[in-house]
Amino acid sequence: MDDTLFEFLLRQGDNTLVLGHRVSEWCGHAPVLEEDIALANTALDLIGQTRMWLGYAGEVEGKGRSADDLAYLRDAWDFRNLLMLERPNGDFGHTLLRQFLFDAFQVPHLKALEDSSDPRIAEIAAKSVKEATYHLERSRETVIALGDGTGESHARMQAALDLLWPYVGEMFLSDEVDTDMAQRGIAPDPASLRQTWDKTVTQALTDATLERPEGDFTHRGGKTGEMHTEHLGHMLATMQFLQRAYPGATW
């Protein structure tokens, strides 16, 4: 088995799975009908991308595990998603700001993956990047509207930004998996995406009249699986309940 490729694919699939599930929690709760539908669409896009990433991960692993097996039958310590994505949704502004901070990373990331030396990855990226580009447009517009909105919405957005900022650095950390992927031309070094991300985010925060927090401290451990927040286990308990309680249930 190609261990580093498997690890890389889990990271991609777990990011979209965990964020997709978090966004899906808004279904039926969003502040207006239009946003409810838009958030459900986003969640479905992300879960669709998960099927492709984890499906390929299962093939690379070669033990006969499907995308469903990987999504529903692994426990928290086997997950490889970014810590930012497993955090609770908070209010609507916080959810959309997290979405924006991730989308601004994911779009250049997927664009680079379109040139991957692995044709399956290039194919998944080409399909996903159109969805991600739309997600970015939407989350960016909403962040600007709420940041540059009322006193209340501005204060909530600034608080959300201050809260999320110590989690953004994890997106750009590289380890031996990333080095191996970059050397083989499979994926870009995440650190190389920082400049594009900074440009997108700085412009949007300026338009949103939000102040970019100082400091480079970052929480880490989600992507490597070393340590997750306490929130992931609770999320998985909900997400995996059906398959755990009724193994192999279908409908």
Partner: protein, 113 residues
């Protein structure tokens, strides 16, 4: 366990002097199903501005591959005929069957007209 906080409604104390919550404007949505066809009215939605109205229309009305182009127009900009004018406006044409060009054979090659 959902981690959603659909605030401010449940947890926020509603202050008596708080200004009334205003609805976003209503927009009418038109979708062009395929190239060469005209835009057709499909429904309406609320949005704070034209850009968001387009994005919302994309999510609400084109998620099953319904369209190649979207128009939105604020509902207040649409001038409509009055139902009470129905008689003078529409009834005079009821008796003028000769205005229907049903006496011509349209060649199949013409396609949609």
């Amino acid at each position: 366990m959902s981690s959603v906080s659909p605030s401010p409604y449940p947890e926020t104390d509603e202050k008596a002097d708080k200004p009334k919550r205003h609805e976003w404007p209503l927009w009418e949505v038109f979708v062009r199903g395929q190239h060469g066809m005209s835009h057709r009215h499909v429904g309406s939605l609320h949005a704070p501005d034209a850009e968001m109205a387009i994005l919302n229309a994309r999510d609400v009305y084109t998620r099953r591959n319904e369209g190649v182009s979207l128009w939105v127009v604020e509902a207040r900009h649409i001038a409509a005929s009055s139902p009470s004018d129905k008689g003078p406006l529409y009834e005079p044409s009821e008796s003028k069957i000769y205005r229907h060009p049903t006496f011509f054979d349209i060649p199949d090659d013409v396609g949609a007209m």
